[in-house]
């Protein structure tokens, strides 16, 4: 079913909307969650919670891109669950590695600078991504949005894992320079 029709079902408050969403996007959402949590049951729980959040959000929302809308919900729910796990010392998956990689992107702050808020930061990231070649942009998003493993990425782009790591390293350096140019402080 087309996304617009699924969204219409949400607006009509027809519960079949959830079934149609699951039919089309369960695999997509599950992949996002599983990359973060590495646990089938927890990922499934996040996916089900995604449907509930979508049901509560539409209406009033009418997402332009249902896949991204659902993906963002799943990602946020999975990150929240991951944080809870970390507190319980149960964390695993790609998140910790990705976080440590992102450490090197953060510019050092001076005392007079104000930390940027998340919305502005996302806008700066959009500008950065917009200036990247497509393949580099996809690699960045796959690694830090989808939390995809280096191995899977290497397979996606038909390159070796070391090539994928090198490419990501260069992209992170470019991002750091971009932040410095824009005066971004985290």
């Amino acid at each position: 079913m087309e996304d617009s029709k699924i969204i219409d079902l949400y607006w009509k408050r027809a519960e079949i909307a959830i079934g149609e969403t699951a039919k089309k996007y369960s695999r997509y959402c599950h992949a996002i969650s599983f990359n973060i949590l590495h646990n089938r049951e927890d990922a499934e729980e996040c996916v089900n919670d995604t449907y509930l959040k979508a049901w509560n959000a539409i209406p009033p929302k009418r997402p332009n891109c249902l896949a991204a809308f659902l993906g963002k919900i799943t990602r946020n729910l999975s990150l929240d669950k991951f944080k809870k796990y970390s507190a319980d010392k149960r964390g695993h998956g790609q998140m910790e590695i990705a976080l440590s990689e992102l450490d090197e992107v953060i510019p050092s702050a001076t005392s007079v600078e104000q930390a940027i808020d998340e919305k502005e930061l996302a806008e700066s990231l959009d500008r950065f991504l917009g200036g990247l070649p497509k393949q580099k942009r996809m690699m960045f998003v796959q690694r830090y949005w989808y939390l995809m493993s280096i191995q899977t990425m290497a397979e996606q782009f038909s390159i070796s894992e070391s090539q994928a790591k090198s490419a990501l390293f260069r992209i992170r350096n470019e991002l750091k320079s971009h932040f410095e140019r824009e005066g971004v402080v985290l």
């Binding site: 089309k24 998140m95 450490d103 992107v105 930061l121 996302a122 959009d126 942009r137 998003v141 996606q156």
Partner: protein, 319 residues
Amino acid sequence: MKNEKLLSSIGNIADKYITEAQATEVRPPKSKVVTLFRKPAVIAAAIAAFLLLSAFTAYVVTGGDLWIQKPSNDPKETVRSAIENQVGKDYTISVEVESIEIDGTETVRVVESFISGVIAERRGWSDEYLAEHFIVVKAVYYAEYDHTQTTRSDGNVVQYFYLTRDIDSGEWTIVDNSGNVNWSDNLTAGNEAHTGVSDEVRSIKEQMLSYLSELFTEAYTPYYDGLHYEMTNYDETIVDGACTATFFWTMYHLGKGWDVAGDEGAEMQGNFSLQATVTINDNGELDLSTISILADNSASGPPDYCLPIEDFFPDQLAD
């Protein structure tokens, strides 16, 4: 932590970048063309088998087949119904037919190469009869599958369907197609129905059945009598000479009464959900040096094929 803030902000990047990167991982690109094509000799052997075994008609129509088809007087409509009805299956997310056409060249080639001659002579089929009762239809469609439930590949599929026409009703029925075998789901080891039909290379499913039968017989003969096997829910995908098949495997044997005295002599069964991966050589035969048989290890939910079948085999009598 600052890096968590950054990771969180990355979550709010523009939708277009999210969907752009999504394409290669969780949603294979639509431009990918998957041509499901078995060796012509194998296909022809299947068709010949069908034409020789009239009893198959009822089976194909009544169910158990991979194609939920609605026989029609128009062979293209029969194929269309089969493709579109895939949506009714649990593992299919969507199917979109792009084109369906009768392939006259392939029809003539299959008839001339494999059906006419000995088979036609034995059955008393004239060329005119064959021309009216056998046809090949080529279909191009886009299919998206739930990969938690099937190993089939998404993408634009080019597939050939082989149909025969019922003498009484005039309706066309799919008896085989490239990529999947839909006429022999009830095939069991020891079933002689297909032997003697042709010396052509056996279908992949038949070869798989034969290989597994030998494997199980070797493993279980020291323990059980009356061994025979059944392969059901068979689903096969072939891409670039690599075959992946999933199926249920049932091993029947006579009980020894070791656990329950009353079971002695009674037919028992063991069931396995298996996935086989194997390379197909140029002759359409399985390259058994590459075969891997894995069993589903999931207690519930989507299958998780990870256990080598050999792990199940008993070793009490081993040295």
